[in-house]
């Protein structure tokens, strides 16, 4: 079966929002802030307008444009359980002007949210298949909704391998989740770090070394990847070597984005606007774009 990333049921600007609001954010309140790593925090958000909050729905893989009032706007992927309707979470690394300003915010502060934007992981089409998820660093964040969805509907999917690489044990996101997932016997969690500390008992090295440890039949498996560009590149090469077909390697591609609705031109790769046609692509799709050639 050929896999293609799903189109979301609702797409901002096309089907569910009046066009006048295309660039105007809705106000959301920070309900909680969770420290993940020294430079990463997870923000739990809820829309101020109750009616809007209840009608708001999104799918794993999608993202929003976050406005920090007084600083600017940045694209951030959803990171929470899609079945959770009371709030949603965004995991943010403090890197640029907006994300640094976001890290300085407190519980109860207000942000602007525009979305949901982009397409989603093909979770429907993946039913019945074995799943390999490869993520590096903060690349686990856009995959977390997919992981939580798979675990919630565990019976729909085959063998589940989660491979996660980070710089150091302390740089891992969602340590509270990783602990829980490591104890589950219906999934395999393999972790690696570049630099270990004295308590680290798992692998040391880049995330692709974990691929040598897994046992899957590529005929009936799908791989989801997200992480730094170099990690995606080498994972893809490795997966192709293992016998994964090009349309079973699914990646979330991130680029510098401004508008999120296919107009500003920043995230455009060849003729494809990653924000509206992506961010989720199969390698079969990416291969057609010269800029993404391996």
């Amino acid at each position: 079966m050929v896999l293609t990333p799903s189109k979301p049921l609702r797409m901002w600007g096309v089907t569910d929002s009046p066009s006048a609001d295309l660039y105007v954010p809705m106000i959301a309140v920070i309900e909680d802030i969770i420290d993940e790593t020294p430079d990463t925090k997870t923000f739990r958000l809820r829309f101020e307008d109750d009616e809007y909050a209840q009608s708001f729905s999104w799918e794993p893989g999608q993202f929003v444009e976050v406005t920090v009032f007084g600083a600017g706007e940045a694209p951030i992927g959803f990171a929470s359980d899609p079945a959770e309707k009371r709030f949603f979470e965004l995991t943010v690394v403090a890197r640029g002007k907006v994300t640094k300003a976001m890290h300085a915010m407190q519980k109860g502060d207000r942000l602007g949210i525009r979305g949901p934007l982009g397409n989603c992981w093909p979770l429907e089409a993946m039913k019945g298949m074995d799943i390999v998820i490869i993520s590096g660093g903060c690349g686990l964040a856009p995959l977390r909704p997919a992981i939580l969805h798979i675990l919630r509907n565990r019976g729909d999917y085959g063998d589940f391998w989660l491979l996660y690489g980070a710089r150091t044990p302390a740089d891992r996101d969602y340590k509270y989740d990783l602990e829980k997932w490591a104890k589950r016997d219906d999934m395999h969690l393999l972790q690696t770090v570049d630099v270990a500390d004295e308590n680290w008992t798992e692998t040391v090295g880049v995330v692709t070394v974990l691929l040598e440890k897994i046992k899957v039949n590529p005929e009936n498996a799908v791989a989801l990847t997200c992480g730094p560009p170099v990690m995606i590149k080498f994972s893809t090469i490795e997966l192709l070597d293992m016998g994964f077909s090009e349309d079973r390697i699914v990646t979330s591609q991130e680029r510098y984005m401004k508008c999120g609705v296919g107009k500003c031109g920043h995230c455009c790769v060849n003729h494809v606007y990653l924000c509206t046609e992506g961010p989720v692509f199969t390698y079969a799709q990416l291969r057609a774009l010269p800029e993404f050639r391996l």
Binding site: R255, V269, E291
Partner: protein, 360 residues
Amino acid sequence: MRESEAAVLKKSDVSAFFGSLASDMRLIAPKEAFGGDVIFDAIESPKDIVWDYGHDIYPPKRFLLPHYEEMFRYDCRGRIHIQPAPKPSPQAIIGIRSCDISAIRFQERFFTQPIVDPYYKDRLDATVLFGLVCTKPPRRECFCICCDSGPWLESGFDVQLTDLGDRFLYEVGSDKGAKATEPRAYLLTPARSEDFAERRRLELQADSLFQTTSYIAKAITYISADEVPDEVWEELGSTCFRCGACTNLCPVCTCFTVDDVENTDGTFSRCRSWDSCQFSGFTREASGHNPRSAYGQRVQRRFYHKCSYQYIMRDGRHGCVGCGRCITACLTNLGLPDVVKRIRRAMHAYLEPETKRSEV
């Protein structure tokens, strides 16, 4: 349009006609600016219009996609209050050239499909385009004739004016054009067969006067198939100054960046302003990673967008209207016809059999 729908506007009635139009909307037209340059700007009186202006280097696209545009304003001291930008008021762009009208139609398609950009659409809906045909190519860099965008247009204009000496042939091309004409129609007289004969004579004459031509079709083939070797792009990119003039003066280019700017009263404005794919910061991410860090990659980006089959399928036409501004603006001959020529030359050498090359 059918000949029977065309009319004639006597030059002696031009002031009365556009004077009357000024009561309905703001008039934008080529006018003499400080220093003697002719640029498009708001005019006080129809007498300010410079009808024989040739060609302006700064395209009138900025009246639809302003160089700097406020999207909305917000106050984040205390409770956050967002105030949408005011709706644009009606305007007429008088004397706009066919290439620039074609570019606006290109932008219209881009900005309304599949997602509608409200700011561009509102401005375009409030704008009437009075095209002015170039009866002879105004500059030697003009090559609209190669780009299906002039000198005369079959469609796309609201009103198209052709200078016939003592009068203009006045063609209406849209409902918006008809609506703007109707209250002033008493100043028009029906066109006669000799008016059309004169237009046809001018068309034939104009076609023979173009000094720049560009065989884009071949470059489109090579670029679409990704056959142009990276070395060719690197060589082209090595001369680029990254000034961004080509994309800023291009009437087709639409890329913008978004910034939140603090106003003197303490509120903030979210503004969008023109950006250029030729700048290294265009794709640089917060982590410092830049997927398009090489100069050649950025030049390739520009020409892939202008001349690839993939974009033609998406946009309905290739992304060049032959206005020639990039030729004038570029300090290092990276105007479109020059690059097309260099790609064809390079590919010719590249595709030539090895033996033949060694004989040279």
